[in-house]
């Protein structure tokens, strides 16, 4: 008898009792934008949806791409590449908008593709390199490329959103 994908997934899942006890780990929402592989704590991410029509906002910093409507809510859309000074994001058919929340402030960031939720061992998280650039202040740490895949820069999403908001308001 053929097993359904759901049954296979359940079989592959680790035993609930054993999880968390072995080694401390943290779940990150990982995505790709431009050449960057970024990860943000999964609890800061509310939802992911497809990029619809963006309405540009006047008198805003370049990293604010505009606003978009989602479920009756108007969300600002941020370009992390511009924000971090790593280039410029492009909005296409497959572009995802990841909704993040920092307290009452909610905003969406552009992602070319979503890598998924990753559980990363705390021991694998390395501190951000010293003397880094502007991006360094928002970094929680980095995961070196290794057995579990490519290297990922882990961001403090809440802080980043706050900073962005402040900068946008300052203007």
């Amino acid at each position: 008898m053929e097993t359904s994908p759901l049954q296979r997934a359940l079989k592959a899942a680790p035993d609930r009792s054993s999880v968390g006890q072995a080694r401390p780990e943290q779940e990150f929402f990982c995505f790709k934008v431009g050449e960057l592989r970024l990860g943000v704590p999964s609890e800061t991410v509310l939802e992911v949806f497809r990029a619809g029509r963006l309405t540009p906002l006047p008198r805003t910093p370049a990293f604010v791409m505009g606003v978009t409507g989602h479920r009756g809510q108007v969300l600002p859309v941020l370009d992390l590449l511009r924000f971090l000074g790593k280039g410029e994001a492009r909005v296409g058919e497959r572009t995802r908008l990841c909704v993040g929340a920092s307290g009452p402030y909610v905003a969406a960031v552009v992602a070319d593709s979503v890598l998924g939720l990753r559980r990363i061992l705390t021991s694998d998280i390395l501190p951000p390199p010293l003397g880094g650039d502007a991006a360094a202040e928002h970094l929680l740490g980095v995961v070196q490329p290794g057995t579990r895949g490519e290297g990922i820069a882990l961001l403090n999403f809440a802080k980043l959103l706050q900073t962005a908001r402040q900068r946008a308001v300052m203007r």
Binding site: R8, A9, A12, R16, V19, F29, S42, L46, F49, G116
Partner: protein
């Protein structure tokens, strides 16, 4: 004549001298007479009796005697003249007989009795001279004519020999012509045969070209069918593309849904863990579907390119077959031309064959005629040779005649 004149004069002179010189007695007169008679008898007809010296009867006798001697002397003189003329006539006759000299005849005479005779002879000789002259002339003419005849005959003989040679040559040429025309007939026959073969080959070529054109039409029809099939295939592939787009869309939505579900699970904390894992698995499935659809899209792109290439190839094939058909039509036309040409060649060769055969027959007739002509010419040559011989003989005879007649001298 000369003898006649002095004697009457001398006689009186002598009579006077003797009369004056010697007045002799009678006896002496007789003696004188006797002497005179004796001298006359001795042949001296000039002797006269001296009448002057005598007298009487003696003088009379002397006179008579003198008269007698005178008459005798006259008769003698006439006789001498006559005999002289007779001698001349005899000489002329001798010359006539011996040397054939007709020129030395004289009709002139003092003798009346001889004159008719001489004239008669003269007439005869004149006639003879005329004859000789005419014969001579005729002989000359004959000789000239005979020479001309000989020349003509020789010329005729030569020309007849030449004619024979020419006829011989012509016959040889005609023989060669006969052989040549036979060869031409043979060659024309060969040409006709080759033309027949070519005709067969060209007909086969025409058939082959017809088949070729049919095959080309078939290929074109097939090509059209192939193009239709390709168009249909292209439409189906487009349809598949649309379906794949739909699947893609669904997979993308599934992906998003699974992702959000995972986030929800994650927020639920420990309780939502299993849900998150299922959602992740769901997401992976959706990603698999997306990968598959991507692959299908690539395949569709490849198929599209391939069908485009096939359509292009079909178009090219159509153009090629059309040009092939045209070429086939041109080739068919060319072969038709070849057929017509070969047919003409064949007919012409046959006509040449017939004509040369007729020519051969004609040539044979000409050869036969030439043989006859040669025969006749040979006879002619023979005849002209004989004629030449006769002419030679005639010339000789004419020469002989001329020679004979030359013995007579007419002038």
């Amino acid at each position: 004549m000369s003898l006649e004149s002095p004697s009457p004069k001398s006689a009186p002179r002598r009579k006077s001298t003797s009369k004056s010189a010697t007045p002799a007695p009678t006896d002496t007169g007789i003696r004188v007479l006797i002497e005179a008679i004796e001298r006359v008898l001795a042949g001296d007809l000039t002797a006269r009796a001296p009448v002057g010296e005598l007298a009487g009867e003696a003088a009379l006798v002397a006179e008579l005697l003198n008269e007698l001697v005178r008459q005798l002397s006259n008769a003698e003189a006439r006789k001498a003249i006559t005999s002289k003329e007779i001698d001349r006539a005899i000489d002329g006759l001798i010359a006539l007989v011996r040397q054939g000299d007709l020129a030395r005849w004289s009709k002139v005479t003092e003798d009346d009795q001889l004159a008719p005779l001489l004239e008669g002879f003269g007439n005869v000789i004149e006639t003879l001279r005329t004859f000789v002259r005419e014969i001579n002339e005729a002989a000359l003419r004959l000789s000239s004519s005979a020479n001309q005849v000989l020349t003509a005959s020789t010329q005729h003989e030569t020309s007849s020999t030449e004619q024979a040679a020419a006829i011989h040559e012509t016959t040889a040429t005609m023989e060669e012509l006969k052989h040549a025309s036979a060869q031409i007939a043979e060659n024309a026959g060969a040409v006709a045969r080759v033309a027949e073969e070519t005709l067969g080959a060209a007909r086969a070529g025409r058939g082959a070209i017809g088949e070729f054109i049919q095959a080309m039409q078939q290929i074109r029809t097939d090509g059209v069918a192939v193009a239709d099939s390709i168009a249909k295939l292209s439409k189906r592939v487009e349809r598949i593309g649309t379906v794949v787009e739909v699947i893609d869309e669904i997979a993308d939505r599934s992906d998003l849904l699974a992702l959000n579900a995972a986030l929800e699970g994650s927020r639920a904390g420990e309780a939502g863990k299993g849900f998150s894992i299922v959602a992740a698995e769901m997401r992976r499935l959706a990603e698999n579907v997306l990968d598959s659809t991507k692959e299908i899209k690539n395949l569709i792109t490849e198929i599209r390119e391939a069908t485009a290439a096939a359509a292009g190839a079909a178009d090219a094939s159509k153009v090629a077959t059309e040009s092939g058909e045209k070429l086939g039509a041109v080739a068919a036309q060319a072969v038709e031309g070849i057929l017509a040409g070969v047919q003409e060649t064949s007919d012409a060769a046959r006509v040449i064959n017939l004509a040369t055969q007729q020519q051969r027959t004609a040539t044979e007739q000409v050869v036969a005629s030439m043989a006859e002509i040669e025969d006749v010419t040979r006879q002619t040559t023979q005849a002209s040779k004989q004629s030449t011989g006769a002419a030679v003989e005639l010339t000789q005879l004419a020469g002989r005649l001329a020679e004979l007649i030359r013995r007579f001298k007419a002038d």
